[in-house]
Symmetry: C3
Subunit: 351 residues, 3 copies
């Protein structure tokens, strides 16, 4: 394991092992501890769950924690472009920021949302890509422009916890929201459910497709697992679903154009999960969402506060999934450095 | 103990025990340690002493620390209203924020000042109340709209340290300030001194009464302890005081109306504790203030830098009082979970 | 050791010892641990390297860490002036802020850049000076208006690591930049190279002298070490240099006058270190910079990405140098308090 950018990079066997370990940790098993090892957390975008759960995970693993935020008296504004003449507002190039932080910690976790203005730039996922390129240590993606693998691992764990069948129906439904949100979560949710081999329905209004590259990656994973993908604009296509997973995201057709986005959404307020949706889905259906969630816009109180909602357990699993992930990552680093140390010792005993 | 919202919730015997423990810790006794237990600190309002002292207390107790702030790349703006249609600026409902953080830590401490605009809202103390309602773990109030119990416990500890008689005279005097400040500290100071059974004088100009509900709570505590409350508009009513405790707060009559507040204060600049005040109080008088303090507006340099001021010891006692409080809280959690574990073990050995 | 304000306060023997220790730590030697001791980090100015490296150093030394930032919901705005009537925007006087934090930790590290507006104020270095005056505990300067001793110690360490001769040629060259930057780094770099006894060339355009007081301190150190200082406006005076150290800083003649500064710089864009500069310097020359650096303004990509650049190692040495410094500081505190405890024990056994 060399960090984690996108859950689909991991073999399904590895994802299963991590999810099982996460559930052991949830039941109170103590994780391994790695005294003297360092984890860095760099937040270039806001966070509640991610910040809290990574901090706690680091403490559980006995790691030295380094925490940085942008803004205020936090870290400097980063330049991302190669060859830039830095006479503007960016104070430090990502080449130096990444390389230096890579000297201070053994693993670096980074959060950097899409800007939502320049689609091509967002598709390059430049900040997390830059850290992966220049840090020299494993990078854990705490949500980039394109992927949110820790959420996906927590969601997988949650379905294991609930005993959801690997072939069950999983509906990812677009939802209304006052703003155009990034695609990292829907991309990751879709890919995760298909890597799991599920019968996936992606329900979204016309104009709200995910990007072809994300769809292609989801289909690649589906073809390996036997998962099935149906795309529909029928928000009621939930019959028989085990999971109704709501999420809002912005239209690729209106990227960076807030007015067009508002016009497109004017008639979409009914894309909100309510009791009727859950009833239509059937008696086994559970409601999932990554949080934070806009109540009574994305989902009605009656669902969120009702018995089908598992969003709090799902959020708790962020902690356990990330602890399992970091435990594995640091264990592999320990083994590598023991390997190195053994060969060093060999060299040292040579005459 | 199930967190701490207001010091008066605790029995006087418990407050005495915590204050004595705080003084032991101050003398260098090591607190108990709770490895594997987690404390969350959530700052929705600014802080120096509180932040620093809670961080250090957590470290002394060996706790896993999770720290969050609002603003910048910190936590999301919270919605407080039940049933809200969240299509505005609030990104996350306190129901989810509280419930999720309650899954990541064993005890959560929250700071959220009054907004100072809508009195009814402030009297409902909605943020800390929301966390108490939804977090599912004990909530420690690090200063809410209405109460600042950790300050009150530190102040009690400070008077024990100074050997102040339980029936001594305690003057809480309003002071001038460029802004209308919240009532959490004066409410808590008054209630604390009366719970202690002291001869309390509340000196404030006309128009600067504390809220009837806070006064009623203070009187309830006084009637149990034999404490005595006199309210006066004579700022010189300090004769024979053991403690002169200065604090500024806004007028309930001008809540949210900065102009009216300024008009009311125009003639109140003399409400500033000076050497003459302390001399009038007499040879045993000590000066207290919760800090931060506006020098030469609330109190003159000559007092703050003179021998009667105990404000730095008082601030130091924040650390020891909070360490004692958290030690007690986590000890009780340990005992509860041992209880739980014992019954679990019983279940597990059943055939 | 009573904190560290300016590297030149330390004897050269002590600097050498700390640099050697830093290199041991770099090679993987474990530092001493000081459980139960507390370190505070107070950031009143932005930081990436400093924040990350001090956090990691604290963890390596097993210290209780207290971290505070100004801005947002961080610490209050500080008043610096003695006797101020605080009816403006400053909420807390540095006297209280320093004294209180000094009660919560054993050593306090502070970062506070120069304001860049009022030269006289900046020359008084009022924030770090205030903490040194009022905190009652050792203060480590994490970059003040005038000095950046941790950078200087890391730079010394880096030259030891590279085996740079103590009499070698060291060129500190001014560089262009879109903004007028503080003098803390150039002051510290110059003084450090001269304390080391090097053959120092300070190359800067007319109008970009360092302050006479900083130059006097540098010369004082040079006269003790046998170091040599040449000041020139020839940016090509690099022949035979072992180190080319680039840094931009503002003109004392234009302090606080951004327009004048821009006019002065209009013709200075060629003050940028490029491949030709390094070639002219010769085959042994290494490029150093404290970071963050404006690529292609201060130094060309061809240098920063080439084999002569040691900026990432230099940044890594911040961690090791600071760990060595704090280890020494806490060791001395331990020895002092053992001394105190011994005499306390003596008192206690007396009848």
């Amino acid at each position: 394991m060399n960090g984690l950018y996108h859950l689909g990079e991991l073999s399904t066997a590895m994802v299963e092992r991590l999810a099982q370990r996460a559930l052991e940790l949830r039941r109170g098993v103590e994780p391994l501890r790695f005294p003297g090892r360092g984890l860095g957390l760099l937040f270039l975008s806001p966070s509640l769950r991610t910040q809290a759960s990574f901090q706690r995970a680091a403490a559980k693993l006995g790691l030295d924690l380094v925490q940085l935020q942008s803004g205020g008296n936090g870290v400097w504004q980063l330049e991302l472009e190669d060859g830039a003449v830095m006479n503007g507002t960016s104070v430090e190039h990502i080449r130096e920021a990444a390389a230096v932080l890579g000297r201070f910690v053994d693993v670096l976790a980074v959060r950097a949302f899409s800007g939502g203005k320049d689609l091509e730039l967002d598709l390059a996922d430049p900040i997390v890509a830059g850290f992966r390129r220049f840090a020299g240590v494993p990078i854990v993606n705490m949500e980039s422009a394109l992927w949110h693998p820790c959420q996906a691992l927590a969601d997988w764990t949650t379905m294991d916890m609930l005993g959801v069948d690997r072939r069950a129906k999983f509906v990812l439904t677009w939802a209304n929201h006052p703003k155009a949100l990034p695609h990292a979560v829907p991309n990751s949710t879709l890919a995760m459910a298909l890597q799991r081999g599920m019968d996936v329905v992606l329900a979204r209004p016309e104009g709200y497709d995910l990007h072809p590259s994300a769809l292609a990656e989801a289909k690649r994973l589906a073809s390996a697992s036997g998962g099935k993908l149906t795309i529909t604009s029928d928000r009621n296509a939930v019959e028989g679903a085990s999971i109704v997973y709501a999420k809002s995201w912005g239209s690729l057709e209106a990227w960076g154009d807030a007015e067009k986005e508002q016009r497109m959404r004017a008639a979409l307020a009914h894309w909100c999960v309510d009791a009727q949706t859950m009833q239509r889905a059937g008696p086994n259906a559970r409601f999932m969402h990554c949080l934070p969630v806009r109540r009574n816009v994305v989902v009605k109180d009656e669902v969120l506060d009702g018995p089908t909602s598992v969003v709090i357990d799902q959020a708790e699993n962020r902690l356990h999934a990330q602890t399992a992930l970091l435990e594995r990552q640091f264990l592999e680093l320990e083994m590598q450095s023991k390997g190195k140390r053994s060969s060093l010792e060999l060299q040292e005993v040579r005459p």
